[in-house]
Amino acid sequence: MLDFIEPALFAILTIAIVAAGAGVVLANRITTSALLMAFTFLNIAGMFVLLGAETIAMFQVLIYVGAITVLILYGVMFTPQSPRAYGLFFQTQKYWAALFVVPIAIFVALVAFSFRDSATLGAKGGDLLPLATSVFRDFAFPFEVASVLLLAAMVGAIVLVKRDEE
C-alpha cells in the first residue's frame, strides 16, 4: 500500500540534486553556489538513507554540510565581493567542461545500468557493522594509507600558511 513512497522520495531527491547541482554552476554569486552545494549534499544524504546506508548519510552531512561548506563560506567571506558575474566566469569554460563531463557521465551511466539486475541490497538493520568491518578490518591498510596522506597534506598546508616568526 505504501510502495509508492520510496519512488516518490527518490524522484523528489533526484530532481533536487540535479536542480541544485545545476544551480551551483549557474548561480551568479559564489555564496549562493556554496549554499546550493550544501543543499545538494543534504539531498545526497537523503539518497543514502533510501539505500539503507544511514551511517554514510550522517557522515555525508557531518563532513560536507557541517565542515566543508562552512570552510568554503569562511574563505568566501575573507575575499572581497566584486560585482563581477561569477556565472559568466564559469561559463567561459563550458567547452572544456563538456569535454571532461561527457566521458565521465557515459562511464557512470554504464556502471549504473550494469548494477540494474544484480541482487538487492543487504538485509535491513543498518550499515554500521559492514562499514566498520570493511574500514577497520578488511581494508585497514588502504584506510591507513589514505589517512597518512591526508595528514601529510594537512601538515603541508600548515607549513605553507605559517607566518615566519622573527
Binding site: L2, L35, E54, T55, L62, G66, L71, L73
Partner: protein, 374 residues
C-alpha cells in the same frame, strides 16, 4: 486490513504520528525556552545578589510571557543592504536542525520519536549544521561585527566538534551501540556511565558549552566586543528564533549528557510505571541546564586565542589520550570496566590538578618575555 495503534489504519497513523510528534516538540522547545529564560534571569539574579523579575505575575513568572508577546508583536525589520534571501533563511537554518535532533532523545521507555541505530551520530550531525546558519546570518547582515561573529562561530564550532565527537566515541566504545535508546538501557540502577567515564563527561560538557555558544564561549555574540555578533541586525521574531534555537541546543546538549552519562530515564519506580521516566529525564536534563546558567554567571568570557588554544592544545590531546587508553583497556580486559574507570578517574584528576599549574607557568613565561622586551 492491518490495524495500527489505537485502532487507526497505519497509512493514516504514520503521518498522524509525525504531526503529533512535531507539535509536541515545538511545544517543548517553546515552553522550554520560556522556562529557561525565567530560570536564567532568576539564577543569575541570585548569584549576583539581586532579585530578578518580580512584578509581572507571582514571583515574576509571567515576565518571559510578556517578553515573548512583545517579540511576536514587533515589526519585522530588514536593513536595506542586507542580503535578502540569506538574511531571511538564516534563522530557519539554525532552528530546524535543533528541532530535528529531538527525534532521537529517549524521554522514557517507549517514548522516543525514532530509535535510530545511528542516533548519536545523527545528533552530532545536526549539531554541526547550526554553524552553517550562523555563518550565513553573519555574512548576510552586511555588517562588520556580524561578519566577525559569524567567522568566530565557524572557527569555534568546527574546532570544538573534534573533542566533542572524541568524547562521545569513548562512551560508544564502552557501551557498544550508537542508538540513544540502547545507550540509555545500558545503565540500569547505579551503573551510570559517569562513574566509568568521568573525563569524557567533563570534556564533552566543555565542548558542549562551546558548541551552544554559551558563556564562557559566547564569543560569536560577545556584546562587549562585537555589539551582538551575528545577531546585531536581527530583531523581533527572527532574533527570537535564534534564541529559541540556542535554548533548544542547550536542552539537546543537556539531554545528551543525561542519556550518555547519567542513565537517561532510569530512576525509582520506572519499572512499575514507565511514564515516570519522563519526569526523571526532565529533572536530570534541567539540572544540567542549571549548570550551564551557573557557569554563565560565574566565569568570564575567554579571548579568541585562549579559546583556540584550549581546544587544540588541551582538549584534543586529552580526549585522544582518553580514547586510546579506553580502547586499549577494553581490548585487554574485555569482561570488566573497572580498569577503564580507574584510568579515567586518574586522567581526570591529572587534568584538574595540572591545568592551574600549566597556566601559572605560562603566565610566568609571558611576564618574563614582556620584561625582556621592555
Amino acid at each position: 486490513m492491518p490495524v495500527g495503534p489505537f485502532g487507526i489504519d497505519p497509512v493514516i497513523w504514520a503521518p498522524l504520528r509525525l504531526v503529533i510528534a512535531v507539535l509536541l516538540v515545538v511545544g517543548l522547545v517553546f515552553n522550554g525556552a520560556l522556562a529557561q529564560i525565567y530560570l536564567e534571569r532568576k539564577i543569575q539574579a541570585i548569584i549576583q545578589d539581586r532579585l530578578g523579575p518580580l512584578h509581572t505575575g507571582p514571583w515574576g513568572l509571567l515576565q518571559t510571557f510578556a517578553d515573548a508577546i512583545k517579540l511576536l508583536g514587533k515589526e519585522d525589520i530588514r536593513a536595506r543592504l542586507t542580503d535578502k534571501w540569506f538574511f531571511l533563511a538564516a534563522p530557519s537554518i539554525v532552528f530546524s536542525p535543533m528541532l530535528a535532533s529531538y527525534v532521537v532523545i529517549p524521554f522514557a521507555p517507549g517514548i522516543v520519536g525514532a530509535d535510530l541505530n545511528v542516533g548519536l551520530l545523527y545528533m552530532t550531525t545536526l549539531g554541526s549544521m547550526t554553524v552553517l546558519g550562523i555563518v550565513i546570518a553573519g555574512w548576510a547582515s552586511n555588517n562588520k561585527y556580524s561578519l566577525m561573529g559569524g567567522l568566530r562561530s565557524a572557527g569555534q564550532l568546527i574546532s570544538y566538534e573534534v573533542p566533542q565527537i572524541l568524547s562521545l566515541v569513548t562512551v560508544v566504545l564502552v557501551v557498544g551501540t550508537l542508538s540513544m535508546v540502547g545507550i540509555a538501557e545500558s545503565q540500569p540502577g547505579w551503573q551510570l556511565n559517569v562513574l566509568v567515564l568521568p573525563l569524557a563527561f567533563v570534556t564533552y560538557f566543555i565542548a558542549g558549552l562551546a558548541e551552544t555558544n554559551r558563556a564562557p564561549f559566547d564569543l560569536p555574540e560577545a556584546e562587549s566586543e562585537l555589539v551582538a555578533g551575528f545577531l546585531t541586525e536581527y530583531s523581533g521574531m527572527r532574533w527570537a528564533i535564534f534564541f529559541l534555537a540556542e535554548y533548544g541546543e542547550v536542552t539537546v546538549v543537556s539531554s545528551i549528557v543525561t542519556t550518555l552519562w547519567f542513565g537517561a530515564w532510569h530512576g525509582p519506580f520506572v519499572e512499575v510505571f514507565p511514564l515516570i521516566g519522563v519526569l526523571w529525564f526532565t529533572l536530570k536534563t534541567y539540572f544540567f541546564v542549571l549548570v550551564f546558567m551557573w557557569i554563565r554567571a560565574t566565569l568570564p568570557r575567554l579571548r579568541i586565542d585562549q579559546l583556540m588554544s584550549l581546544c587544540w592544545k588541551v582538549l584534543i590531546p586529552l580526549t585522544l589520550t582518553n580514547l586510546v587508553v579506553t580502547a586499549t583497556l577494553l581490548l585487554v580486559f574485555p569482561s570488566t570496566l573497572v580498569p577503564v574507570a580507574i584510568a579515567n578517574w586518574i586522567l581526570l584528576a591529572a587534568f584538574v590538578l595540572l591545568l592551574p599549574y600549566v597556566q601559572r607557568r605560562r603566565l610566568v613565561a609571558l611576564r618574563e618575555r614582556l620584561r625582556t622586551a621592555a
